[in-house]
């Protein structure tokens, strides 16, 4: 074992003669992805935790400067690969804000449903794996079966299960079919049973409760000071949800169909409960949206010079052909304002924002991602101190760190 004597730096812990250093990761089954923690231990108690990240850094932001606004969606997909659709929606939401495009009502509703399905799938994975790390295997299987159903729905819409790249500037790759609507309705009907199964397995499970209650407490002031958003902040009592506070997509119209879930404890158990309840609220949004799905086109008008015209128009009309040509040719494409914009949506993990600098061409000059995982992992050293090594797993699980988004 890599044990090394570390000099004590504090008078108070001087009586404890030795502290050990433990290297947690980068390849540890409980980190799920590649990240590393350097823990300083006093016996089994953590005195100091230093995260070391960057193992999955792939230069996504640099790549974004070389791809146009539609192409970059394939890269955005691979950031938070637990809920890829949410990333796509965030990216094109900000691009459309930059270009000043107002998407059609049908597109808004479809994107809303997909975003909420992504939230359910993300929370399912998070709860499943967090429980798995604490020794509960069955909820993991239940949660992953539900994720499988969501993959089917996404596949029905886009043709791709995992990284659909479904959104486009000003709309979607193509419209959904009736079969998709049927599948979403079926999911809305069947999910509450699986949810209550997980509930019954975990919420009052003595082992699970004792391993999570009072572990990794994040007080409200600290959560705000550290920039936490999403379920992590809401579990600490920060009442903030962009879906209510800055409504985008169809959330303004569906405002009355859901509530913001907040907790008070700020510990791992509170974060688990907030995620559990949020899944039910998401389901309410999906139910309201699928029953009120507007008809009409899914893409914005071709006149906006942002979307490709439908194939028959390209083949049979001269205007369609010109429009197609204008967008596809490398020296043409979008006209963007020479401006900078920050926009964000409420992704399953928290506020997922993009800061885009446009220089007039069809490629972003700079496309910064504001990744919630990155901000939340910076919280980890504050939560870890004073707990035992086995609690590190519970805290990591409750923060839902996705390393691909963390390192980009």
């Amino acid at each position: 074992m890599p044990l090394e004597l570390v000099e004590t730096w504090d008078e108070q812990i001087d009586t404890k003669q030795y502290l050990w250093t433990l290297n947690f990761g980068p390849q540890h089954p409980a980190t799920h992805t590649t990240l590393r923690l350097i823990l300083t231990l006093d016996g089994e108690k953590v005195v100091k935790a230093v995260p070391d990240i960057g193992y999955l850094h792939s230069g996504f932001e640099k790549l974004g400067e070389d791809l146009n606004y539609n192409q970059y969606v394939t890269i955005v997909d691979r950031m938070n690969y637990i809920s890829p659709v949410a990333n796509e929606i965030a990216w094109h939401h900000v691009v459309e804000k930059l270009l000043g495009i107002e998407i059609t009502p049908r597109c808004k509703f479809i994107r809303t449903i997909l975003a909420e399905l992504a939230r359910i799938s993300d929370h399912c994975l998070n709860i499943g794996t967090a429980a798995l790390d604490l020794g509960a295997f069955t909820p993991f299987l239940y949660a992953f079966y539900q994720r499988e159903l969501i993959y089917d729905i996404i596949q029905e819409a886009s043709g791709q299960r995992f990284h659909p790249s479904y959104t486009r500037v000003g709309g979607l790759m193509f419209d959904v079919r009736d079969e998709w609507i049927r599948k979403v309705r079926e999911f809305v009907r069947s999910f509450p049973k699986a949810h209550s199964d997980i509930h019954r397995l975990l919420t009052r499970n003595r082992i699970f409760v004792e391993r999570t209650k009072g572990i990794g407490i994040l007080p409200r002031e600290l959560a705000i000071n550290l920039g936490c958003t999403g379920p992590v902040a809401r579990a600490s009592g920060v009442v903030r949800d962009l879906r209510k506070d800055e409504p985008y997509l169809a959330y303004g119209e569906l405002r009355d169909s859901f509530q913001v879930v907040c907790g008070q404890g700020g510990d791992c158990y509170a974060r688990y409960l907030v995620r559990m309840e949020e899944m039910l609220e998401s389901l309410k949004i999906i139910r309201a949206a699928i029953e009120n799905l507007p008809s009409g086109p899914v893409n914005v008008d071709v006149e906006s010079k942002a979307v490709l015209p439908a194939k028959p128009a390209t083949w049979r009309t001269i205007e369609g052909l010109i429009q197609h040509f204008e967008l596809i040719m490398t020296n043409r494409g979008f006209e963007t304002p020479q401006e900078e914009i920050y926009g964000a949506i409420e992704s399953p993990n928290g506020e997922l924002g993009y800061y885009i600098v446009a220089d007039g061409t069809d490629r972003p000059y700079r496309c910064r991602t504001r990744p919630p995982s990155f901000v939340h992992f910076a919280v980890f050293p504050y939560l870890a101190v004073g707990h035992q090594v086995s609690d590190m797993v519970a805290i990591l699980g409750s923060l839902n760190i996705i390393a691909a988004e963390l390192d980009r």
């Binding site: 506070d245 506020e351 800061y355 220089d359 901000v375």
Partner: protein
């Protein structure tokens, strides 16, 4: 808490810093304050303490090397949020070589810790007063700043020099 009027904030800031070089601009729903870097810390502190911008959402930088009509090399962007009123504000400052130093915002928001480290890692902008300014995403021995515009997309061949551990050594 009501949303503070932008003109009030601007007036107050100009009085507080005793300069007229603070500018306000808007685009869509974004509100931006462009601040000379000498006053940056003063402005951030004032916004946090007087106007309740208690959350630092993001810090990022932009390299304006090839940007049309750019007058400065780097821009550093602070996205602030007031969690009570929901008001957002973007504070921006410009930097030029060779003086790439800014005061650290860590004493105001702890969130600045990693965000500033990332800006330092990617752009080489130094934050004075930061408790632990190391590279965060790139390796410690890396010497370039990859998100600068004069750094090529495919790198400068650093990957060829990666130390390779053979099976016998491992």
């Amino acid at each position: 808490m009501a949303v503070a009027s932008l003109q009030d904030i601007l007036q107050h800031l100009r009085q507080h810093t005793n300069t007229d070089r603070i500018e306000l601009s808007t685009f869509r729903d974004n509100v931006r304050l462009v601040v000379p870097k000498e006053y940056l810390y003063l402005v951030l502190q004032f916004l946090k303490e007087r106007y309740g911008f208690d959350m630092l959402i993001d810090i990022t930088a932009v390299d304006y090397l090839n940007y049309p009509d750019a007058r400065h090399r780097f821009g550093v962007v602070y996205c602030l949020l007031n969690t009570v009123s929901g008001q957002r504000l973007i504070v921006k400052t410009y930097l030029d070589e060779p003086d790439l130093a800014l005061p650290s915002a860590f004493s105001l928001w702890k969130a600045a810790d990693w965000l500033e480290r990332e800006v330092y890692d990617m752009f080489g902008i130094v934050f004075e007063g930061h408790p632990d300014l190391r590279r965060i995403l790139m390796a410690e021995w890396f010497t370039d700043y990859p998100l600068r515009k004069d750094y090529p997309l495919r790198g400068r061949g650093e990957r060829h020099d990666f130390p390779v551990i053979t099976r016998a050594e491992s």
